[in-house]
């Protein structure tokens, strides 16, 4: 239902991935996808596969790094973790999103009477 919202705003998923990695440390693709779903309280139903394009993009920018490792239940998986550059970028992007959402909140809070008169 709401799943297309994430796709509409380019870069949203990238920011979520960065934040997730910053919060939980090293994690594999599936884990990241799960955490995002949980954090959004299943309001976003994300095509989990989409996350891999985001991961490779972030990796190429040097914001996250990747390494093959073993998961809790003994499976081989690729583990991602945020880099120092990634943290700086996260700070910037988060501040930007915060400002944007404040603005959006104020704009959407305008009372309907004004437009009616």
């Amino acid at each position: 239902m709401g799943e297309s919202k994430l796709d509409l705003l380019q870069g949203t998923l990238d920011l979520m991935v960065l934040q997730t990695l910053a919060a939980i440390g090293s994690q594999h693709g599936y884990g990241i996808a799960r955490r995002i779903e949980q954090a959004s309280q299943d309001e976003v139903l994300l095509n989990q596969g989409t996350i891999y394009a985001s991961l490779v993009r972030l990796q190429q920018r040097g914001w996250i790094s990747a390494e093959w490792g073993t998961s809790d239940n003994n499976r081989k998986a690729k583990f991602y973790s945020i880099t120092r550059n990634g943290r700086k970028q996260l700070e910037k992007d988060a501040a930007y999103w915060q400002r944007l959402s404040d603005v959006m909140g104020r704009v959407l809070a305008m009372s309907p009477e004004e437009s009616a008169s």
Partner: protein, 896 residues
Amino acid sequence: MSILRRAFARLRSFASKPPLDAELEAEIAAHIELATQLNIERGLTPIEARRQALVRFGGMDLVKDQHREARGIMKLDILLQDFRYTIRSLSRDRGFTLIAILLLALGIGANIAVFSVVNNLLLRPLPFPDAERLVWIAPPPTKCGLSCATYSTDAYDEFRTYSRSYQDVTGYFAFSGPGNLNLSLGGAPIPATSVDVIANFFQVLGVQPAMGRLFRPEDGNNGAAPVIVLSDAWWHRQFNADPNIIGKAFDINGQQTTVIGVLPGTFDFGAVFSPGVKIDALTPLNLYGPPRDEGNIITMIGRLKPGVTLGQAVPDAASAAPHMCWNNKYPDSCKGYAKDGVVPVSLKEYISGKLRRSLVVLWSAVAGVLLIACVNLSNLLLARAAARTKEFAMRTALGASRLRIVRQLLTESLILSSSGAICGLALAAALIAWLRHQTALALPLVSLLHIDGAALGWTVLIAVVAAGLFGLLPGMRMAAGNLQDSLKDSGAGSGQGRKHERLRSILVVTEVALACVLLVGAGLLLRSFLRVLDVDMGFEPQHAAAVNVDYDDNVPNDKTGALSAARRGVIFKQVIDRVSAIPGVQAAGISDYLPLGQNRAWGLPWPRGVKQPENVHGSPLVYVMTPGYLHAMGTGIHGRDLTWDDGPNSQAVVLINRSFANFLDKYAKWPNHDAVGHILGDGKGLLIIGVVDDVHEESAEGDAGWQIYYSAMQNGPNGAQLILRSTLPPATLSSSVMRTLRDINPKQAMAEFRPIQSLVDHANSPRQFFMLLASSFAGLGLLLAAIGIYGVISYSVTQRTQEIGIRMALGATVAKVQRSALAKTLRLAVIGIATGAIVSLVVSRTIAALLFDTNPTDPLAFAATVLLIGGVALLAGYLPARRASRINPMVALRNN
């Protein structure tokens, strides 16, 4: 920095695509397993758990595509895909591909070849360092040939002293004849040709030796040891490229002459200064020896000081001119040069300026050929695109963007045009190699022709432009097509088909019109060439040959020259008598110079007792000959020929040509306008014993100038050319003639027999060259246009197979079906020819200056063109028409 890193990462991931893909697969597999595991833990059955995991993951292929797009260079991927797809589809359609590449190879190849010639002659600087500073110093052309285009040694010295614009001035002896060297290696001497150059010649031009050294000032002094510098070609041919040749001495013209240097292959004296004549060696000119008083003998070449422009050099030369005397001993002779001026022009202009117009015309002609090839290809591609409408519609329906499809079509064009360009380059290389060896061609710098970087750049440029030209139209057409119509359209007889056909017809009309313009141009040039061949040269070039005769008329203590003149007469009479006795020889005679070769003048002899007006300029060209020469050449005489009695002690006699006689008659007003029997000059004077036909001495195209013929027993000739008239081929005759000559003079060199016709051919060779090229290009254009017509008519017949079948089933006769296809052809041809003829009327005016005795609107050239194109068009249309008439109605109707 991060941009750079990303670009690098992308490039690397593009390069290592398969391992990265595999890694992604592994990652996805891990993802699904983890998710499945979790779902099982939540109590789902393993199958349901895996299904749910897959659903949550989303479209597998989409994910992979996204991933690739994010990590790699998608564009490069697409390009590679387009490339592979194009190669596949082109190799499926082999016939089309071959024809397309062939068309392009011909069009592009011709363009590269002509560009190389143009580049060599017009664009590239001459093959000397700082060549733009080199100038040719001569008066404007006048009526007395080479003698008025050269300077005396005194004048050269004064010019060097008084001019200020030049780093240095040099020159060479302009009157060296072919075969003026006799190299004796034991056995019969071998003839070769050398030119005497002033010692600073190579310094001024900036030529360095390939081996040894070049001339020093002392090499030209009186009593200097004889030295020689070999051309690269002669060194290879005659001396087997002997690496130890420097310092070796050979018997040349009876003197031990030391080889001091070998010229580099990049410097060919003949190619630069005397096109079409092979110069084997260079020898130093002794400025202070015997040539000092021989009058105008030196052509001057100067190197301007850095920063001095031609505009500054011209007035500088004019101010130096009054100081220049023909001979410093005669103060009277100092005004001669001031009058005509001493005018520097850029050396390049002197060498190739005359050819500029022809080359530009040629260049336009090949551009026309390429244009026709492109139009033709555009047409072919359009037909192909029409057949592929559905394919493209299908691809669009499946999600390909228009841009993607146009890009695909342009990729196709580019691949075709680059393949064509590569084949064209090979073609051009072959053509250039062949041209380089046309040593008899009187075009400068031919031996230096090669395909250089500029030509390669030009190739790339025209390949890209051509691809754009022929690829864009079908591409746009395709992209603009309506998707649904195309999918529904069955192809035959629908609106889309009609629109295509109209466009294709316009293209064919364009082709025919272009071909028409090319043919008219070539026709005019061909007709001019035929007119030139028809010119009465004043002698009969066929069945005559010339051979250089060596003789020794030296008589010791001969103060007046009369003794050696008498001795010369005896030798020449003996040569002519004995050679004439050889079976098959009809006539023989000797002259020192031949028409269309070198020339010189000795001033203007004036009729005795007639006042010479001030403003009369020019002087007749001088030939010193024996009795029988004019007869052997086939030149008619009014009056009498020389006899052996016209010797040193009798009245000096001359024959003059008709133009000169008529000119003198304007002032002398001879009774019956007959010059014979009158006397020229003062003192004993020159008795005119005959008036001879005008001989074209410089070119077939120019006016015949003035000529005067002296007796070889009364004046000193500059060598001796024996002319033989015989219907026997020269090869048969040469051995017996050579035996006779060597019998008379054992020092006679094994000289070459030169057919007189070859002199004429040589003089006409530039015109012939341009005419041949223009005709080949026009022929190519015609062929391409014919292919175009055939393609369109044939295609329309194929498209209308069903319709024709129905008509025939309803009773249309074979003839009627044929007529309808032919009528279509005729319509295209007529519109094309009419357009072409109108354009030709305009274009032909621009080449009027290249024509000889031919009107730019020459009806014959136009009529022939119209008939030729019309005929070829009908033939090209007839083949498909015949096919149309053979359609079996039953098969045609059942088809589809």
